[in-house]
Every structure is written in C-alpha cells, then in structure tokens.
C-alpha cells in the first residue's frame, strides 16, 4: 500500500523534472497535467481503499535518504490515509481543471516544473513519519508554491506577495523546527520514538504553542494570516485552488499529527488557546472577505474563516479529550475532519470558477463583471452550487459539518473548567455570526459577478470555458451534493481516524434507517440530509405541477421597472462596495476603521466627483508594520558600521581584545 503511494510520489517528482523540458513543447502542459491527474488519482484510490478496508493496518517504509543515521521514515495510518484522500482529490480536480486552463498560461516554464513537485511535497508531508522528512516536505511545499506565486513576476505586487509569503512560511517552519527540537530532546527524530517517549506536560504545552504558530501561520489563522490573501490570488487559478483548498488542510494535518497523536494527554488550557484563535479567525476572515472587490481575494479570506471553524472543532475536541469525555471529543473531531473534506471540495470548486471567469474575461475585479450567467451558464451553475455549499445551506455539505460543530458546542456545558465555560459560548456566537456573514459574502460574490447586467464590455463578450474545466467543476459540485445528502457514509469513513486520534468514535451511522446522522444519541438530535433534500424536491415539484396544471403558464418579456428613468446604464446596478456598504457601516467602522471619503471637485472644474472607501487592516498596522519599522530602524543604526575608517575598525578589534582579556583573566 505504502509502496504504491511512494512510487506515485516518485512519479510526480519525475514529472516535475520533466516539466522543465515539457514547458517548451506546445502539448507539454497537456502531457504534464495528464500525468499529474493519473498519479493523484492512483494515490487517492490507494488511500481511500486503505481508509475504508484496512484502517487498522499501518504499513511503514524507510528509505536511506534524509538524516544519515536515521533514514526517511514513511507511515500510512488512518489519519494520513484520510488526508491523502483530501490532498489527492483536490490535486486530481486541479490537474483536470488545468488540462483546459493551462493554455492561458503565458510563461509555462515557470509553472509546469513546480506543479507536480508541489503535489509531491504535500503528499510526502502527509506520509512522513520522522521530523526531518516532515519538515523537508513541509518547506519544499512552500518553496514550490512560492515559485508559482511569482510565476507572473511582471506585476510588482506578485513579487511582494511572494516575498511576504515565503517570509511567513519560513517563520512557520522555524517554529515547527523548535517544536521538533523540544520533542526530539527526549527521543530522537522518529515519530514512533517521540510517541513512545511521552514528553512532559510543560514541554507539551510549549510544543502546542509552537505548533499553533507554525501550522497556524501556514493554515492562515488570524494573527498570522496576512500573507494568505496576498499569495493565494497571485498564483494561477488551479494552483490557488490547491493552495487554499488543500495546502491549508496539510497544515491542519501537521497540527493534528503533532498535538493529537504525538503528545500525551492534553491539558485543558490548550483548547482555550486554540479556541481563542479559531473563533476570531472565523469571524474576522469572512468580514475581511466581505470588504474585498477581487474575487480571488474574497475566496482567500473565506479560507481563513473555514480554517477558523476547523480549528474551533479541534479546540473543542481537545477540551473534551482533556476531560476524558472522548465520545464527545469524537464528535467534535469528526466535525472538524468533515469540514476539512468539505472545504477542500467547495473551495477548489470556487477557485476553479474564479479561474474560469478570469480565463473568459481576463478580469478578477467584481466591479467589472456582471451578467455572466447568460454567457457562461454551466460555469454559473457550478459556482452557484459552490456558493450555496460554502454558505452552509442545507442540501449541501457545508451545512452538515457546521451542524455537527454546533452540536459539539451544545454539549460543552459539561466541561468543568471556568475558562472554557466563558469562551465556548462566545466562540459559538462568533461561529453563528461567521455563518451568516459567509452567506452574505457569497450572495455578493455570485450576485455581483454572475447576475445583473455586464458592467464592462469584457464581461459582455465572455464565453464558456473548455470541457476539462467544466468537468472538474461539475465533478466537485456533485461531490458537494453527495456529501451533503449522505453524510453518514463520510462520517463512518472517518471513524478509524477519530479512533486513533481521540480514542473513540461517533455512533455508527450507516445502520440507522434512511441514513440519518446522529451525533450522540437518538433522543438528542439528528439530521437526515437525504430526506430533507427529497422532501424539498417533492414540495417543489408538487407546487410546480399544481401551478402548471391549474394556473396559467403564459409568459412574456418586458423591460424591468425603471421608476421612470430612460435606459439606465449598467453602472446604476449595485457594485461590490455598495453591496457591502451596510455591513461595512455596521461592523467595518469598528474593525477596519472604514471611512468613506467623498472627493467633491471645486464648482468650476469638470473633474468627476469620486467616492473612495478607505479600509485599514488593523492587524497589519498593529503587528506587521511595527516589526518592519523596528527592523528598518535597527538596520539604519547598524548600517553606519559599514562606513567607518580603518582606525575605527582597529579600535573595535582593540576593545574586543581588552574585553576578552578581562573576561579571561579576571
């Protein structure tokens, strides 16, 4: 099993090196993406079969590469199998999408060699079983995605986005390195040895904080999220779909593997820290998203929201595991894992949609789009499914994982610790707010860019994307619906994962009639996706047939009600910033110090009046700007040392000698 996985990773790496040559040939991108599609699907199938049929087996392998005396260890247990499925499902969909979308790439040489390497890096992170290969794959993943972020290097802000991204990625890796340093102090770098060595409680506490810094910065939790909305949109669409949908999940895997698997019994305050970071990430992420005009930045910010939901689920799982209520911990953990799977699906779908729009119109700014539903009907349908799914609305999968997380919150009054008693309701409130904002944000995204009338001639002349992109999107949309309707299947597939990680599983789902999912007990609460969907469809069809039999079915077209103004041009429609104006006014003025500056020209001048919306990213001003200023100040002060005279350098040597003599002699 693991041999197949390692061979396909090797195939991906071979494809990466071949990519350099392939990028020069005209059909090169088709071959490369086709190869990636095959490799990722084999990986996905092997992982799925391992997860479903023999989760208890944990095949492991050791290669002589890596640390000389340790070698590189790989292991495929239930957790890795699940995340392999997520990674490779996203990878296969992205490769399928890229088959069609790849043609738009103007400089393939900068993307083709790095794409398979990126996929290989992510797979190796999930397979690694020792600290060194884990970290090598982790940073290799960031390096290759950095290369793709700066593939459009002509625009300066892409290069800046790449710079901020790699800086934050290295910060995260060094945090992980310090965490592994602590873990390895007792037992060396192999995960099995660390697991057996049971690090002390204080040490584990520090490791959790470092993991939160390391994995949190890669996943995009709020204080460390600054790079994500810069880097993800800059990459080509299929890559940003992978980065948002899949790479953040690999970061979640890193956190779960270390905190749930390697560390011994959790302490209650760990969950408090995770919840304190998860809750605000959810709400702030989506509030940022509401304020943006660029589609891909909206999607990048909404990734932060979903990551916040996942980490809230993990925080609750930690809290329950610390108190020994591991059957509730199983519920919270499965909710988080299900949201990992769901988010990978619909976020990739939405990024592919954005890619299709970008390919068709060459425009990412919503204010220049509109009316695309008439010109790109199939893409519009797929993106509609994505938007409904991500807004956590019933027939689709987003609602199921959010519903399970809410059930876990409802069970938490049993937690004795006072800190959690105060934090969990607040986090519950934040999650509820985030769900509502998500709906608002995606109504705006879909309404402004796909509905209404085209605001620019580029949007008016858009055309439908190619077959491959459409199939990729529709496949993902179908998966979203299936996961929404039959959640029981997915929860049972996750049972072995939660068994390993929190020691218990949710009640067995498949047995119940009509595939209802029951989080804890029949009496408590249950939800049946399939029946709700059938029930709604039934009601809809009965209404439609009743109306078409009895009421009239005549229909004619007429101009829309224009309140007396002749031929209103598209500009009078609501634009992205005007749509979010009410919410900006209610929430934004506090959180973003949002200000609307109207520049009225002096009476005589023909210059048009301008309305500018000024948003401040408080976290950037409070956390990142001061650090940059401090570094700048320090470098200016130190820079003088470059321009001293020889005599002054000699005094430096002289003083050093005197100091050393004093130290040594006295």
């Amino acid at each position: 099993m693991i041999a197949v996985a390692l061979w396909s990773v090797a195939a991906l790496l071979a494809l990466a090196s071949a990519g350099v040559v392939l990028s020069t040939r005209p059909r090169g991108s088709i071959i490369l993406y086709g190869g990636c599609l095959i490799a990722t699907s084999t990986l996905c199938v092997t992982a799925l079969s391992d997860l479903l049929y023999f989760p208890h087996l944990t095949p492991s392998a050791t290669l002589p590469i890596g640390l000389p005396w340790l070698g590189a260890h790989f292991r495929l247990d239930a957790l890795s199998a699940f995340f392999l499925v997520v990674v490779n499902l996203g990878g296969a969909a992205a490769s399928l999408f890229a088959l069609g979308y790849g043609r738009h790439e103007d400089s393939p040489g900068r993307v083709l060699p790095f794409y398979p390497a990126y996929l290989a890096g992510m797979n190796v992170v999930v397979l690694a079983n020792d600290a060194f290969s884990f970290l090598v794959a982790w940073e290799f993943m960031s390096l290759t995605s950095w290369a793709m972020v700066v593939s459009h290097h002509r625009e300066a802000e892409n290069v800046r986005a790449g710079y901020v991204y790699l800086l934050m990625a290295s910060f995260g890796t060094l945090a992980l390195l310090l965490a592994f340093g602590l873990l390895a102090s007792g037992a060396g770098y192999d995960f099995d040895a660390i697991r057996a060595s049971h690090p002390s409680a204080a040490l584990s506490g520090v490791v959790v904080i470092l993991m939160l810094l390391g994995a949190g910065s890669k996943a995009g939790l709020v204080p460390l999220h600054a790079w994500l909305p810069l880097a993800h949109p800059a990459a080509p669409s299929h890559v940003s779909g992978l980065m948002s949908g899949v790479m953040t999940k690999v970061a979640v895997y890193g956190f779960v593997r270390i905190v749930f698997d390697l560390l011994p019994e959790p302490v209650w305050w760990w969950s408090m820290v995770v919840l304190l970071v998860g809750g605000p990430s959810a709400t702030l992420g989506v509030l940022y998203a509401l304020m943006q005009r660029d589609i891909k930045r909206v999607l990048a910010y909404s990734t932060i929201e979903n990551i916040g939901i996942i980490f809230t689920g993990l925080g609750l799982a930690l809290a329950f595991k610390a108190e020994g209520l591991d059957w509730v911990a199983a519920l919270a953990f499965t909710a988080a894992m299900l949201h990992v799977f769901n988010h990978a699906l619909f976020k990739s779908l939405l990024f592919f949609g954005a890619g299709a729009v970008l390919g068709a119109t060459g425009e990412r700014d919503m204010e220049k789009l509109g009316g695309l539903i008439h010109r790109m009907p199939k893409t519009a349908f797929a993106v509609l499914v994505g938007c409904v799914a991500i807004s956590a609305l019933p027939p689709f999968n987003g609602f199921v994982s959010e519903w399970l997380t809410f059930q876990a919150i409802l069970l938490s009054p049993q937690l004795p610790s006072w800190g959690l008693k105060l934090i969990i309701p607040a986090v519950g409130g934040l999650l509820a707010l985030a769900a509502a904002f998500a709906a608002a944000c995606f109504v705006k995204l879909y309404g402004i860019s796909f509905l209404g009338r085209p605001r620019s001639d580029v949007a008016a002349s858009a055309h439908e994307t190619d077959r491959f992109s459409l199939t990729a999107m529709l496949v993902l949309a179908a998966f979203c619906l299936v996961a929404g309707i039959l959640p029981g299947l997915f929860i049972d597939a996750l049972a072995p994962v939660s068994k390993n990680m929190v020691g218990n599983i949710m009640p067995h789902q498949v047995g119940l009639q009509w595939l209802t999912i029951v989080p804890i007990a029949e009496s408590r609460s249950s939800y049946n996706g399939l029946l709700v969907f059938l029930f709604a469809a039934l009601c809809g069809t009965t209404a439609a047939t009743a109306i078409h039999r009895f009421a009239s079915d005549r229909l004619r077209r007429a101009p829309a009600w224009d309140c007396g103004y002749p031929d209103p041009n598209p500009a009078i429609q609501y634009s992205a910033s005007s749509f979010s104006q009410p919410i900006r006014r209610v929430f934004g003025s506090v959180i973003f110090a949002a200000r609307e500056i109207g520049e009225m020209p002096p009476p005589s001048s023909p210059v048009p009046a301008r309305l500018r919306v000024e948003l401040h990213d408080l976290i950037w001003d409070v956390l990142y700007a001061p650090i940059a200023k401090l570094i700048g100040f320090a470098t200016d002060r130190i820079n003088i040392l470059q321009f001293l005279t020889i005599r002054r350098y000699l005094t430096l040597v002289f003083v050093a000698l005197i100091v050393l003599l004093l130290v040594v002699a006295l």
Partner: protein, 479 residues
C-alpha cells in the same frame, strides 16, 4: 621525507607557483593553473585510499582529510571559473595583462599556503601558512588598482596582520603552557603531542592563549567585531578571489581555531571555550543579518551572508555535543560549496550587466535564465530552504541546541529569519520584474556552478557514509 600523498599536496602547488611566475602569457598560465589544481585534487582524493602517516611537521586525521579534499576541489572549480572570468575581464579592459603578471602564480601560492595550513602538525607552521595565505589574498584583492580596491586591500592588510599577530602571540602562549609538561624544543609545538598532554597544561594560561587565538584566527574567520575587512575584500576583489576567500580561507581559519578548541576540550579545568564562541557566533549572526538590508552592492551582500553563516557555524561548535559539532562540520562544507557557486553566478552576472549595483540589475530570470535560476538555487540553498544541504545542518543545529539553551537558539533563529528577509528582498528585485541593464546573453562557464549546486542538492537528500563517519568521530573529538 618520502614523497607520499601528503607532501605531494604541498609540492604540486609550490612547484606550479614557481613555474607560473616565470611564464608570461595569460592563456597558457590559465590552462596550467587548471592542470595544477586538478593534479592536487587527484592526489588529495588518493588520501581516502591510502592513509599516509603523520610526521613531525605534517599531520593527517579525519578532520583535515575532508577539508583538504574540499579545498582542492573548490580551488579546481574556481580555477576553471577564473580562466573564463579573467579572460572576459581582459576583453572588457577592466584588467590590463600587466596587472595579471603574477595572478596565477599567486593563485597557486595561495593553494599551497592553504594546504600547508590544513596539514601542518606544527602550530607555528600552521600560523605561517595562514599568514602567507593572507598576504597573497591581500595582493590579489588589490589587483584592480581602482581606489576602492586599494582601500579594501589596505584595510584587509592592516586588520589581517593585526589579527595574525595576536594569533602568533596566542601560539607562543600555548608553547609556554606546553613547555613545563612536554619539555623544550620542537615537540612543544607539535599538535599531536600537545593534544595528548593537554590535560596537564596550566588551565589559566591556556585560557589566555585561547582568548588571543580566538581573536587572531577569529579575524580571519570574519566574526562580528573583527569582520570589517571581509565585505570590502569580497566586493572589490576579483570574483574568483571572493569565491576562494568565502569558500576556503574562512574555513581554513576556522579549522585552525578547531584544532585549538580540541586541545582545550581535553583540558577540563580550562574554562569551556563554548560560551566565548557562542557569544561571538550570535553577535555575528544578528549583526550580519541586520546589515543585509541596506546593501546596494550584490557581492558585498553575499559577503555579509558569509559572516552570518560563519556565525552559525561558530555557534554550533560553541554549543558542543556530537550532534551540534556534526552539524557545524556539515554546515562548513555546505556553506563553502554554496557560497562559491553563488560567487561564480554573481561574477558572470556582474560581467553581463556591467555593474554590481543591485538597483541596476533586474529581470535576470528573463534575460539570462541559466544564470538567473542558478543564482536563485544558490540563494535558496544559502537561506536554508529544504531540498538543499544547509537546511539539514540548520535543522540539526537548532533542534539539538533548543532543548539545552532555549533562549540562545531563539536568538539564532531570529537571526536566520532576519537574514532570510534581507536576502530575499534583494533577490526578488534582481530576479524578477522588468529586465534592467544590458541584456546580452552571457557565454559563461556554468559547469563549476552547477556541479557545486548539484553536490549541495545531493547532500541535502543523501550523505555518503564515508563523509558521515568521518564527521561523526571528529564531532566526538571536538567535545
């Protein structure tokens, strides 16, 4: 003294230096220079096969075997690079053939001096070798005869000589400490004898001696307060010399320092040299990291990056312990390979673009893709990103020392992050964006650069066992 491999390594450069001094023509001497370097490299390879005995004056053990091979290999690749580089410089007219009269002779004397320093068993002889190496590099740095080159050479000479003088004083103090135990005469200076008896030496005198040696050889290693000569020497000297300086000379000085640290490690009473080296290492890392931001000359920027990496290595040896020492040795090898590869790339880029100012170089990956991506790979390595060797050594240093001294490692990590920030900022401007400056394609010798980077990439994934066992038992010796 029979002509075994050990003495051959010294004889070939010495003889070729003499021969090259006589021959006038540039093209011929360049080829001869490469042949001589190749011969030396092959003899050094034979060291792995037959282990020559260490005598009174020459010494062969695990530590210097690897370093000799590294030195001769890098000097071979640098000689190949300098052949095409200097040829190009003559065509451009920046260097008159008159200046180059003794260039290759000095190159070979430098090789001779470095090999002598590595194999010398007599600490006095080692000092002389390092002195000769300094003087030859001083002359080579001043070869361009521009104002800045002269000023850099003069600064290098003054600071280098003061440093070397202090090192000599330290050597004398070591002899003084050894005399009561070992007796007078020659074996008071022989390193192998000294290490055997070091336990009975007077610890206080050893401490003062180590203080002087740390300052003396520390200047040659380029640690923070004594670093002043390094950036200007690199920036103003010809690039092959910067590559040799950064790649080899810093290692030779650090090797000498390690020899004395071994001696102190045996004598338990002496204050552990660790704290001294750790403090100087950390100061250099933080100082060099902060200096990277305001640099406008690309070679001077990489010189500061060398100071930073030397700081990391000295920190690793200062912390001690088999894992940290192994990491330090690995880092030394990886750094010299990567830094010389970077200087090869930078040399050609400066020639193509006609300037070393970072502001005037842009869009390299568009105009000269091979050079651009080569330098990119070098910078990815030097900054410590994974698939390449330096990540492994930084991984070992940080993870092995964090548990023992959390706050020191946090400062080191801070230094690494700041350095990454500074270097990556400039590289982004140089590599991407609209192409700036002349865009002529470079007919450069890519072979040396890509062999080095290939070796570093290979080391990042798989380390040959012979290298590993060699480093491991040296790490135990280093204490």
């Amino acid at each position: 003294m029979s002509i075994d491999a050990l003495s051959a390594i010294l004889l070939i450069p010495a003889l070729s230096a003499a021969v090259l001094a006589i021959l006038p023509g540039y093209r011929l001497t360049a080829k001869l220079n490469v042949v001589a370097a190749l011969a030396t490299f092959l003899t050094s390879l034979s060291l792995f096969v037959v282990e020559p005995a260490s005598g009174q004056y020459l010494l062969m053990d695990d530590l210097n075997k690897v370093f000799i091979v590294l030195t001769t290999f890098v000097s071979l690749t640098t000689s190949v690079f300098s052949a095409s580089y200097i040829q190009h410089e003559i065509e451009i007219g920046r260097l008159a053939p008159a200046f180059l009269r003794f260039y290759h002779a000095m190159y070979q004397t430098l090789m001779f001096a470095m090999n002598l320093a590595l194999v010398a068993n007599n600490i006095g002889l080692m000092w002389v070798a390092v002195e000769v190496a300094t003087l030859t590099t001083v002359l080579m740095v001043g070869i361009y005869r521009t104002h800045e080159a002269l000023e850099a050479a003069w600064k290098y000479f003054i600071l280098g000589s003061v440093g070397i003088a202090l090192a000599l004083f330290g050597t004398i103090l070591v002899y003084m400490a050894a005399r009561p135990v070992v007796g007078e005469g020659l074996d008071g200076m022989v390193w192998t004898v000294l290490v055997k008896h070091a336990a009975q030496f007077d610890p206080a005198l050893l401490n003062v001696a180590f203080a002087f040696l740390l300052l003396g050889y520390g200047t040659k290693v380029g640690l923070a307060p004594l670093h002043a000569w390094l950036p200007d020497a690199h920036a103003e000297g010809p690039t092959p010399i910067s590559a040799v300086l950064s790649g080899l000379l810093l290692n030779v000085a650090l090797y000498a320092l390690l020899r004395f640290k071994m001696m102190l490690a045996v004598n338990s009473a002496a204050i552990a040299p660790g704290p001294l080296m750790v403090t100087m290492g950390l100061i250099s890392v933080i100082f060099a990291a902060l200096m990277l931001y305001r640099r406008r000359d690309i070679k001077r920027m990489f010189a500061y990056s060398s100071i930073e990496h030397m700081g990391i290595i000295v920190f690793a040896f200062g912390m001690g312990g088999p894992l940290a020492n192994f990491a330090g040795l690995l880092h030394m090898t990886m750094h010299s390979l990567t830094k010389s590869a970077i200087f090869f790339a930078v040399g050609h880029i400066a020639q193509v673009k006609g300037t070393q100012k970072i502001a005037d170089i842009g869009g390299l990956t568009v105009t000269n893709p091979a050079l651009g991506w080569g330098l990119m790979l070098g910078v990815i390595a030097i900054v410590g990103l994974p698939p390449l060797g330096i990540f492994m050594s930084e991984f070992l240093v940080v993870s092995s020392t964090f548990a023992r001294a959390p706050w020191l490692t946090v400062i080191l990590v801070l230094g690494i992050i700041i350095a990454l920030g500074g270097l990556w900022l400039r590289i982004g401007a140089v590599m991407f964006g609209e192409p700036k400056g002349k865009t002529a394609p470079a007919e450069a010798s890519y072979v040396p650069m890509f062999t080095h980077l290939g070796l570093v990439l290979m080391a990042g994934i798989y380390l040959p066992p012979v290298l590993v066992t060699g480093f491991q038992n040296v790490a135990k010796l280093l204490g």
